[in-house]
């Protein structure tokens, strides 16, 4: 019987003009989203490439100079000797830490457009004190991006609602349901078959769109299963809601009203309320006051007498201190490095709460994901694309590590009273991107559990209301 219903329903479904119109709409929307995302990514990627190219060009320009400097030693011309100065070597070799999520970010832009994707690797830099702030149109940021993740998170559920809101009610309103009952088809059989069919169709459609998207932007296919499973779980939740509302035995208009309500609650109200909760619990700390205090720390640190700086440095870095040759210990040149190291340590300590807030906010959002399935699904897409705040924080941490390595190397050379030669130049650290941490398992589990609970409710409601339906 189920097979007969399935075949019949498939025929009926395919005959629906509204279905074809909707499929066209979703395909067009998906196509537009992929195209827009791709163009946006190209623009972004070109900027990152330019920065990376700049780094490569500086390297190519400097490397021969250090070769000559090493070969000639003290015989090198004065002009070249400047390159041996550790501060100058660090200054001239322009290195950058770049945040460059892969091409999958064309499909899920996440927070990529909000962040400044480069930070200069240099002795005086601090990850908390970004030198550059990306140029954006804030009204465009407010409107949000029309990328594939938007289509999947927002528009796919609408398609589920439009296809399923009258899965049973229409037959009842047209008087067909009682006729079908006579033929031995139960309303529940009919409802579940239709819902299963719609689920299959829409999941197939989302797999198709995702696959086209992955192929067009040349994304890493290792993330494809996460996207496909995420879409499946997200759809399972929505078809569950549609089935549940249909089991209540009310009119099509009523069902459409309630399902539209669910859409608003799950995609607008709940995320907004949780956002409000998170904002109140861990408000974003004002960064400019930190910047101003950092500025004061810096100048106060510099104004201290060399002897005091020397004593503090000895306490904080006894090993490094012991390597400073006696004759140069209290010179201005050496003071620069010690002051910088002490100042950065203080500024980092001051900036620690700023760095912590982001992680704390993410932690709370993660704990609340069971109340916020739309965000759970979105997180699967954005973290696998590497465009979530968590990915950015990983990048910031890796940048801080590179900055630290850079200071260590320069301090080692400078405090020992040595100058830069080829070997030291080659050792100047360059940034390496941290491994991508996609948060898929936990969020899939969350969506799966919510969908499972909902389907239990559907089953219970279907049993309870079968007579009325």
């Amino acid at each position: 019987m189920i097979t007969t219903i399935l075949q019949y329903e498939l025929k009926q479904l395919l005959r629906k003009r509204v279905l074809w119109a909707l499929l066209l709409f979703v395909l067009l929307g998906g196509g537009y989203a992929i195209g827009y995302g791709w163009l946006n990514y190209q623009h972004y990627h070109a900027q990152i490439k330019e920065v990376q190219q700049k780094q490569a060009e500086t390297y190519a320009e400097l490397a021969p100079k250090y070769d000559t400097l090493t070969q000639l030693g003290d015989q090198a011309p004065e002009r070249l000797k400047d390159y041996g100065n550790p501060i100058m070597a660090d200054w001239w070799y322009r290195r950058y830490a770049t945040w460059s999520p892969g091409s999958l970010s064309a499909l899920a832009m996440g927070q990529r457009d909000q962040q400044t994707p480069y930070q200069r690797i240099q002795l005086y830099r601090n990850v908390n004190l970004p030198e550059l702030e990306e140029i954006n149109n804030p009204e465009q940021l407010l409107a949000g991006n029309f990328d594939l993740s938007f289509v999947l998170v927002y528009l796919l559920p609408l398609l589920v609602i439009v296809l399923g809101f009258n899965a049973l009610s229409q037959d009842r309103e047209e008087g067909i349901l009682s006729l079908l009952k006579v033929q031995g088809v139960t309303p529940n059989q009919l409802l579940f078959t239709r819902i299963a069919l719609q689920f299959g169709l829409l999941w197939g459609l989302s797999i198709l769109i995702c696959s086209i998207g992955f192929a067009v932007v040349g994304a890493n296919w290792a993330h494809w299963p996460a996207w496909v499973l995420g879409c499946g779980a997200w759809l399972l939740l929505w078809v569950g809601l549609v089935a549940w509302v249909n089991t209540w035995g009310r009119s099509s208009a009523f069902n459409a009203t309630v399902l539209a309500g669910f859409w608003i609650v799950l995609l607008i109200l709940l995320p907004a309320l949780i956002n409000f909760w998170v904002d109140r619990t861990y408000p974003v700390l004002p960064r400019s006051e930190f910047m101003a205090t950092a500025r004061d720390i810096d100048s106060q640190e510099w104004d201290r007498p060399t002897a005091v700086i020397l004593a503090d440095f000895q306490k904080a870095h006894p090993d490094l201190y012991s390597k400073i040759p006696q004759p140069i210990r209290d010179t201005q040149e050496i003071k620069v490095f010690m002051y910088n190291e002490l100042s950065i340590a203080k500024v980092e300590q001051l900036g620690a709460p700023l760095m912590r807030t982001g992680t704390q906010r993410l932690g709370l959002e993660n704990r609340l994901k069971y109340l916020n399935p739309a965000y759970a699904f979105n997180t699967i897409l954005t973290t696998s694309a590497g465009t979530e705040l968590s990915n950015f924080i990983d990048w910031q941490n890796a940048t801080r590590e590179t900055l630290k390595q850079n200071r260590e190397l320069i301090n080692q050379v400078a405090l020992a009273g040595k100058s830069f030669k080829k070997a030291e130049f080659e050792q100047l650290p360059t940034f390496e991107a941290p491994p991508l941490k996609a948060q898929v398992g936990g969020n899939l589990l969350c969506l799966g559990l919510l969908a499972g609970l909902l389907w239990l409710l559907v089953w219970w409601s279907a049993q309870r209301n079968s007579a009325e339906v």
């Binding site: 946006n40 140029i135 465009q140 029309f146 309320l273 974003v284 400019s288 968590s390």
Partner: protein, 475 residues
């Protein structure tokens, strides 16, 4: 008769439990959002005010200082939030809030709150504007979609026409009834906002705030009229309530969720903005071509040097009665200002063109007009942001020029970098006092949206006068 129709519609809506519950939920959400928005506004306002005071304090207590060191030390200015931020915070969290002002360098506005938030923030914030723009229209749709179906199925419609009610009067009655339900919610917000604004008399002084509040209320009232008129006419034209609801919901999704994103995305594609690194490099390059205050060997600075020496009739810098360094640095500032004017001018032109592109879409999507005008009336839009940026830059120029002139003519000689000015002198320099644009200026920049929303209202009224609204069509 019209009054009776309106009363009847209200009675029906009130009797329908779902609708009255929905109305109460949205009303409750509006109250909650308005109060929490007010609290949020106060927090941000105090935070920025305190930060600005702190910066001023730091500036005044910098000790005896060389004016040029002071120019490097610089200060920070903060974008103040308009009092109507609590109704529509607009771009506030997506745009930078503070600007560092110092010599030689012109920074951009930095530290947007959204850059420290996850993509949850992109789902939107719960504020009064969101409810008024997104949820109230939805409530009107739910009220209106089957407003004819009830009377059709019960035969009451036939009876009404038999009693001589004109079809157009019926339509108007229903539209006004649906509209008045939204106006009741709007009145609630207006009263509450008025009371809250009055509780901060120093912020709500003058007529501007009240005109803006009045403007916002009129704007939303007009938009709700559009929604009511459209929903009732569609409900009258489509016989099946489910289809009527689906059509209205599709229009709602398209106009509030999809089109604003699509239009913003294509505006961005039309006029892509430069990356900050490319932008800064172009500026640096052009500035380097000019005078460099720290590079006296530069050709241009030599020319300037010759000019100054000739002016004072001496043959070396040491013989000048003034400090040449101050003059040279100010000359470099002038060049830097010209570079800023050029590059920020181009950037702002691109941003304005993007905004204009989006504004034109108001003619196909009245929601866009509503949103842009709401941002503008709340003084939380792009234009106000650019206005602040310009005001801060003008202040920076005056401040740095004063410092450079003090360096030049204050009594020191060329090369005297250790010369200091007493701390009290720095306190005498004027603090930054930003005046946001008045309502007339805000609306002038949104004239396209104003025309569009008025055109939409006219169109919907015209549709009501069309000859096809006959009794037999409605039955």
């Amino acid at each position: 008769m019209l009054t009776q129709i309106i009363q009847n519609e209200w009675r029906i809506a009130w009797r329908e439990r779902q609708l009255s519950v929905l109305w109460l939920i949205i009303g409750g959400l509006l109250l909650f959002a308005t109060f929490s928005g007010w609290e949020n506004f106060q927090r941000i306002h105090h935070e920025r005010e305190e930060a600005a005071q702190l910066m001023r304090q730091k500036w005044e207590n910098q000790g005896d200082q060389n004016p040029h060191s002071s120019a490097h030390y610089g200060t920070y200015v903060y974008k103040p939030v308009s009092i109507l931020h609590f109704l529509d915070p607009g771009i506030d969290k997506f745009a930078g809030v503070s600007l560092r002002l110092e010599g030689h360098v012109q920074h951009g506005l930095a530290f947007a709150a959204a850059s420290e938030q996850s993509s949850l923030s992109r789902f939107g914030d719960l504020h009064t504007g969101l409810i008024l723009q997104v949820l109230v229209p939805l409530l009107l749709i739910f009220v209106a979609f089957n407003s004819f179906q009830r009377e059709r199925s019960s035969g009451a419609l036939r009876l009404m026409f038999a009693q001589g009610i004109a079809p157009r009067s019926l339509l108007w009655g229903k539209i006004i009834a649906v509209w008045s339900m939204a106006l009741a919610l709007l009145l609630l917000v207006l009263l509450l906002s008025g009371v809250l604004a009055l509780s901060q008399p120093q912020l709500s002084q003058g007529t501007d705030v009240w005109l803006r509040l009045l403007g916002m209320t009129s704007l939303y009232a007009l938009y709700y009229f559009l929604i009511s008129a459209m929903a009732v006419q569609l409900a009258a034209a489509i016989r099946q309530p489910a289809l009527s609801l689906l059509s209205l919901l599709s229009i709602w999704v398209l106009s509030t969720v999809i089109l604003p994103k699509v239009v913003a995305a294509s505006a961005e594609q039309q006029k892509p903005l430069l990356g900050v690194m490319q932008f800064n490099e172009q500026m640096h390059e052009e500035r380097d071509k000019g005078l460099n205050g720290h590079d006296p060997e530069d050709e241009r600075s030599k020319r300037f040097e010759r000019k100054i020496l000739a002016k004072y009739g001496v043959d070396s810098l040491s013989k000048l009665p003034i400090n040449y360094d101050g003059l040279l640095m100010q000359e470099d500032e002038y060049y830097g200002n010209a570079v800023w004017d050029k590059h920020f001018g181009l950037l702002n032109r691109d941003l304005r063109q993007q905004a204009q592109y989006v504004a034109w879409s108001s003619f196909i999507n009245p929601f866009q007009a509503l949103r842009n005008l709401s941002l503008s009336l709340a003084n939380s839009d792009l234009y106000q942001h650019l206005h602040f940026q310009k005001a801060a830059e003008m202040y920076r120029r005056t401040l740095i020029r004063t410092l450079n002139e003090k360096m030049a003519y204050g009594g020191s000689k060329t090369g005297d970098w250790d010369w200091k000015v007493p701390e009290a002198w720095f306190s005498e320099l004027r603090d930054f006092d930003y005046q946001a644009p008045a309502i007339a200026r805000s609306l002038q920049q949104r004239s396209l949206e104003l025309v569009a929303i008025a055109a939409w209202a006219l169109l919907l009224i015209l549709l009501l006068w069309m000859p096809w609204w006959k009794a037999e069509r409605l039955l």
